[in-house]
Amino acid sequence: MAEAHNIVRVAGVARTFTMGTQVVQALRGVDLTIKAGEYLSIMGPSGSGKSTLFNMIGGLDKPSSGKVFIDEVDIAQLDAYELAWLRNRKIGYIFQTFNLIQVMTALENVTLPMTFAGASQDEATEKGLELLGLVGLRERHAHRPQELSGGQQQRVAIARSLANTPAIILADEPTGNLDLTTGEEIITLLKRLSSERGVTVISATHDYKMLNVSDRVVWIRDGRIDKIEERSELDITVGGIGAREA
C-alpha cells in the first residue's frame, strides 16, 4: 500500500522568470509522479530548468502555472506557517555546499529541526546522537563544521535531513563539492538510508555515479522532461554515456 502511494505529483508545471525586460521560461510544462520510497535523480545540464523543478518539488518556489502536490497537498494553497511546517517535517534538505550552521556543533545542527518541531532537549539529543551514529560520526558530535572534512560535513547534513523522519529527502548536487571517493561514500549512504528507512530521495545532479543507485532518472532539457529511464534500462545507457564522454 505504502509503495503505491504518490509522494510528489507535479502537474503541468511551468515557471517563468523576469530578468530585467526579458522573460525566461525555465520550465515549460512538466508532469512527473514520484512514488514513496523511490530513489530518483534529476539530471540535466545547467540552465535546463533542473534546479527550478527541484526547488518546486521542495516547496521552495511556486509554479507560474500548474500544480505541485506533496503528499497530495497542493503546496500553492499553503500559507507561510504551513510551508515552514512542511519543510520542517516532511522534507529533509541536503545542499551542495552542506550549509551546516557554522556557529553550532554537529549535534546542535542535527537537533535544530527537532527543536523547531517541538521536541524536548533530551529527546532531541538522544535522537541526534543516534542519527550521527547512523552516518558514522557519533564521536564527533561536539565538533564545529570547520573542524570537519567536506565528506563529514555532508554526512552531518544527511543526519540533519533525517531529524524529523521526513518522507522526502531533497539533495541538491550532494556530491558537487566532494572528491570522487567521498562522493561515492555519500551516494552509498543515501542509497542505504533510502532502502533501509523507505525515505524518498530526490536528487538534482550532474554526477553519473548517482545513476547506478537511482530507481529512475529524469532527464531535463530546455524546461521539459527529455526522457525518464527506469533502473532496468539504465546500465546500458550508463555505458553509452561513458563511451561518449571518453
Binding site: S51, L60, L78, A80, W85, N88, T97, P113, A117, G118
Partner: protein, 243 residues
C-alpha cells in the same frame, strides 16, 4: 495540546490542511543568539564600540550637569562663583525668591552640547544599521538554511533582536559607566573635592539609567530594518548562495 491533537487527526486525512506546530522556545533562541555573539565576538565588539562611545558621551554630559547641580544645591557662594567661572550661564548672585533646588533643576547641558550628543547618537545608530545589514548579508546562507529546516520569519527576527538587545545592553552599560567615571574625574579636576562631596547619588543613578536605556533602545532601533530584511528572506536563497 490541542495543536498536537490536531496534528494526529490531520495526518489521517491526507487532503486536510497541514497541522501547525513549529516552535522555537525562548530559552533556545537566547542560547543561539549568545552562541552567535560569542563566535563572532570581534565583529560584535566593533558593532558595540560605536555604541559605547556615543553612550559614554551622553552619560559624560549628563554627569557634568549632575556635578554642577550638586554644587549649586550646596548654596555656597564660592562654589557658585566657580560654576560661573567655568562657563555656566548663571547670575553670580542667587536671584531672590528662587530656591537653589529649582535653579539646579534648570541647570542642564548647553544647547550646543545637547546637539552634539544627539548627533553622536544618530551617527551611532546609522553605524549600527550598517553593521547589522552587513551581518545579515554575511549570514544569508545560515538564515536560508534555518528557513529550509522550518524556521518561521519571526524566529529569525527574534534571533536578531535578541542579539542586538544583548549587545545594546552590554555596550550601553559599559558606555554609561565610562561616561560617569570620566565626567566625575573632570568634575574633580575643575572644582576639587567639593564636586564629589555635593554630588547626589540619585542623580548619578538616573544618569546611568537614562544612558543604558537610550543605548539599548538605539541598538534595537538600529537592528529593526536589517532583522526585517533577514526575516523576509526566502529559503531558496540558501540554495543559491555559493561560496
Amino acid at each position: 495540546m490541542s495543536q498536537a491533537e490536531g496534528a494526529s487527526s490531520n495526518q489521517t486525512g491526507k487532503s486536510a490542511r497541514i497541522a501547525r506546530q513549529v516552535v522555537l522556545p525562548f530559552g533556545k533562541s537566547l542560547e543561539i543568539s549568545i552562541k552567535s555573539i560569542k563566535v563572532r565576538f570581534f565583529r560584535s565588539m566593533i558593532t558595540v564600540a560605536s555604541l559605547v562611545l556615543a553612550v559614554a558621551f551622553l552619560s559624560f554630559i549628563l554627569t557634568g550637569a549632575n556635578v554642577a547641580a550638586g554644587l549649586l544645591r550646596s548654596g555656597e557662594p564660592q562654589l557658585r562663583l566657580a560654576l560661573v567661572e567655568a562657563g555656566y550661564d548663571l547670575p553670580s548672585l542667587p536671584p531672590p525668591g528662587v530656591a537653589p533646588q529649582d535653579e539646579a533643576g534648570k541647570l542642564s547641558a548647553s544647547p550646543k552640547e545637547r546637539w552634539i550628543v544627539i548627533l553622536s547618537l544618530l551617527v551611532c545608530t546609522v553605524g549600527i544599521v550598517n553593521a547589522q545589514l552587513m551581518a545579515v548579508t554575511e549570514r544569508f546562507r545560515e538564515i536560508g538554511t534555518m528557513k529550509c529546516l522550518g524556521a518561521l520569519d519571526r524566529f529569525i527576527l527574534r534571533l536578531f533582536l535578541l542579539e542586538a538587545g544583548m549587545q545594546g545592553l552590554v555596550g550601553a552599560f559599559i558606555g554609561a559607566i565610562l561616561g560617569v567615571v570620566v565626567g566625575l574625574l573632570v568634575g574633580l579636576v575643575r572644582f576639587g573635592l567639593a564636586a564629589a562631596a555635593n554630588l547626589s547619588p540619585l542623580d548619578v543613578l538616573a544618569t546611568l539609567g537614562i544612558s543604558v536605556a537610550v543605548g539599548a533602545g538605539l541598538s534595537l532601533l538600529g537592528v529593526v530594518y536589517p532583522a526585517a530584511v533577514a526575516a523576509r528572506m526566502r529559503p531558496i536563497e540558501a540554495m543559491r548562495a555559493q561560496e
